[in-house]
């Protein structure tokens, strides 16, 4: 008797949750899925090579502005297909933004936990690094690193990952210390758990909601930072392309050919919006007390 009630309880629970998923989240998930698909399948769905020039069709208008279907989103000043460039840019920008966000979150959380666990000297060292990072203009750091080590994609992603780690470190340290004071972390430690278990299984899931929100806030920032650096000639260099890079170079043709700038801008706005909404929803979903 009691067994059947347990079974029905567990069977109905997921259905209730799925029914509660709002339309906006479905749209956001759909958009992110589409963008990820485009990024992964870029080589197969590209109508043209992204560097291929069509000099007779320079600055051709997109379909919705009276252009032809041979270049659905128009072409730029060198006659390169905007759609093809957009597809390759999405791949590049997503790689940079996801990579950098994950690197900075992992670095920040690891250092924050180190500080919270060992306290004393280790904590002071980490906090001094945090203050240093917060006080240092990131552009100067980026210029110095790229000037000394040259520019490569891996280095660029790592560099952007260095931007903003101090926020995660502060959050992770503060929340880990308060978790210890709240009792559940201390209680698990008292059970004989190793620090790996305490932080990995208890503290991290408990503070994940705050970290996820902070990551969704950092994600658009990194896309914009990448475009800024690319514009300064520090980021993705021509002939390579990224969303920020396209916006930067399309700026000069803003009045004559706004579609060059419009397409990547729309993608940036929609992607960051979708990531933010998804993060917010995920935070609520991951918290069993709010269900």
């Amino acid at each position: 008797m009691s067994d059947t009630t347990i079974e029905t309880a567990t069977a109905t629970a997921p259905a209730r949750r799925r029914a509660g998923m709002p339309l906006a989240i479905i749209l956001a998930l759909g958009w992110i899925g589409l963008v990820l698909f485009v990024a992964l399948a870029a080589d197969w769905i590209n109508p043209y090579a992204f560097t291929a020039m069509d000099l007779r069709n320079r600055l051709a208008a997109p379909v919705f502005m009276g252009g032809s279907w041979s270049h659905p989103l128009g072409t730029d000043e060198l006659g390169r297909d905007v759609l093809s460039r957009l597809i390759v840019s999405i791949r590049m920008s997503l790689l940079i933004a996801f990579g950098a966000t994950l690197i900075s979150a992992a670095l920040g959380v690891a250092l924050g936990f180190l500080a919270a666990h060992f306290r004393g000297l280790a904590e002071q060292a980490v906090m001094a690094l945090v203050d240093f990072q917060a006080a240092m203009p990131f552009l100067i750091l980026a210029l110095a690193v790229l000037a000394f080590f040259g520019n490569s994609l891996a280095l660029f992603i790592c560099l952007l990952g260095l931007n903003g780690w101090e926020r995660y470190a502060r959050i992770a340290r503060g929340l880990a210390i308060s978790a210890g004071a709240q009792g559940y972390a201390a209680a698990v430690q008292q059970l004989g758990a190793s620090p790996w278990r305490v932080y990995g299984r208890h503290v991290l899931p408990n503070i994940a909601s705050t970290l996820i929100v902070s990551m969704t806030l950092a994600f658009p920032e990194i896309i914009l930072l990448e475009s800024g650096l690319s514009f300064l000639g520090l980021g993705v260099q021509p002939p390579g392309t990224s969303l920020g890079n396209m916006v930067g170079y399309g700026r000069e043709y803003l009045t004559r050919a706004p579609w060059i700038l419009l397409a990547p801008s729309v993608v940036i706005v929609l992607t960051t919006l979708a990531v933010s909404m998804l993060g917010d929803w995920l935070r609520d979903r991951l918290d069993p007390t709010l269900r």
Partner: protein, 326 residues
């Protein structure tokens, strides 16, 4: 027979700073506590808040290292906190907390949390074992799927107990385990603790400020004041006929409808461990204090008449009281 747990002359100091530029002041939270606990017995530790009960409990469990003195568990000294032997030893000694909601991870169902000590110590952690533990503390096995916030206060405390009992510990330190619960549930949890002790022969260190609870639970009672044990003995003896003036005041504070007008109301401020009075720490508030009390701290020793352990010059007959107790 060596006792299960023996603590000798424990001292724990904290440094406290008054204001931004103040000099650090040493606070002796625990100042020379000696206690012993035999297997299967209960020692009740009572005293007002801030007297060092919880710190004593934490040092006895090895969660904090004492600044002076030592703790022997099963005849061996306590390993340093956080080390591997210390972590292994956690399977033998466990803690029950005052605030069960704070002590449980609100993101995990309680079944998972009850299984956790078993996983940590490499014991089989299958569902039948978890369900048996839950049943033992009076929870239903299907409540293993519940999250802590979905349970009532008493059920949460039972879940904490199930987790503490999972590895079959021989010592349980209960730090105010019932003070966050309402009265009917307090009785249930106390009965459960007594029942579990009888079944499993667990030794309990029962820390509380509730004298009735301590009397019901304990085989021996120790009364603490400002980091020291001032009286120790059988619960009925200590709580019916206290020898130490502080214990007398404490006992007279229990509401009793049959007693008329002989309640001892202590004068003066509650004690401040940062500014410890000279001699006997209780002398500024003590109705019986004599000049010797301000000069010399009394030792905890058996009283000449009946052998009750008490730390008081007057009770020991070393000094005559100045005036009768009010």
């Amino acid at each position: 027979m060596t006792p299960l747990l023996e603590a000798r002359e424990l001292v724990r100091r904290y440094s406290m700073r008054r204001g931004m530029l103040g000099r650090p002041v040493e606070v002796r939270a625990v100042n020379g506590v000696t206690l012993r606990l035999e297997a299967g017995r209960t020692l009740g530790l009572v005293g007002e808040s801030g007297c060092g009960k919880s710190t004593t409990g934490r040092m006895v469990l090895g969660l904090e290292a004492p600044d002076e003195g030592d703790v022997q568990f099963e005849g061996a000294p306590m390993p340093p906190p956080g080390s591997l032997p210390w972590r292994r030893q956690r399977a033998r000694m466990q803690m029950v907390y005052q605030d069960p909601l704070g002590a449980l991870d609100r993101r995990l169902p309680i079944g998972v949390q009850v299984a956790e000590p078993l996983q940590i110590h490499g014991l089989p952690a299958d569902a039948t074992r978890v369900h048996a533990l839950l049943r033992q503390v009076g929870l239903r096995p299907d409540q293993a799927e519940r999250y802590p916030h979905e349970l009532s206060g008493g059920q949460r405390q039972r879940a904490v107990l199930a987790r503490a009992l999972a590895t079959d510990p021989v010592l349980l330190v209960c730090d105010e385990p019932i003070s966050a619960l309402d009265v009917s549930i307090q009785a249930q949890v106390m009965n459960l603790l007594v029942e579990l002790q009888q079944q499993r022969g667990i030794a309990l260190l029962f820390i509380s400020h509730d004298l009735r609870a301590v009397r019901q639970m304990s085989h021996r009672v120790a009364v603490m004041y400002l980091g020291r044990i001032v009286e120790e003995g059988e619960p009925d003896a200590v709580l019916h006929d206290p020898a130490h003036p502080y214990a007398q005041a404490l006992v007279s504070a229990i509401p009793d409808p049959t007693r008329r007008g002989n309640r001892i109301v202590l004068q003066g401020d509650p004690p401040n461990p940062a500014a410890r009075p000279s001699g006997c720490a209780f002398h500024p508030r003590c109705p019986l204090a004599v000049s010797l009390c301000a000069r010399q701290a009394p030792a905890l020793k058996p009283r000449p008449g009946d052998g009750r352990l008490v730390a008081c010059h007057v009770a020991q007959g070393e000094a005559a009281p100045m005036r009768k107790a009010a």
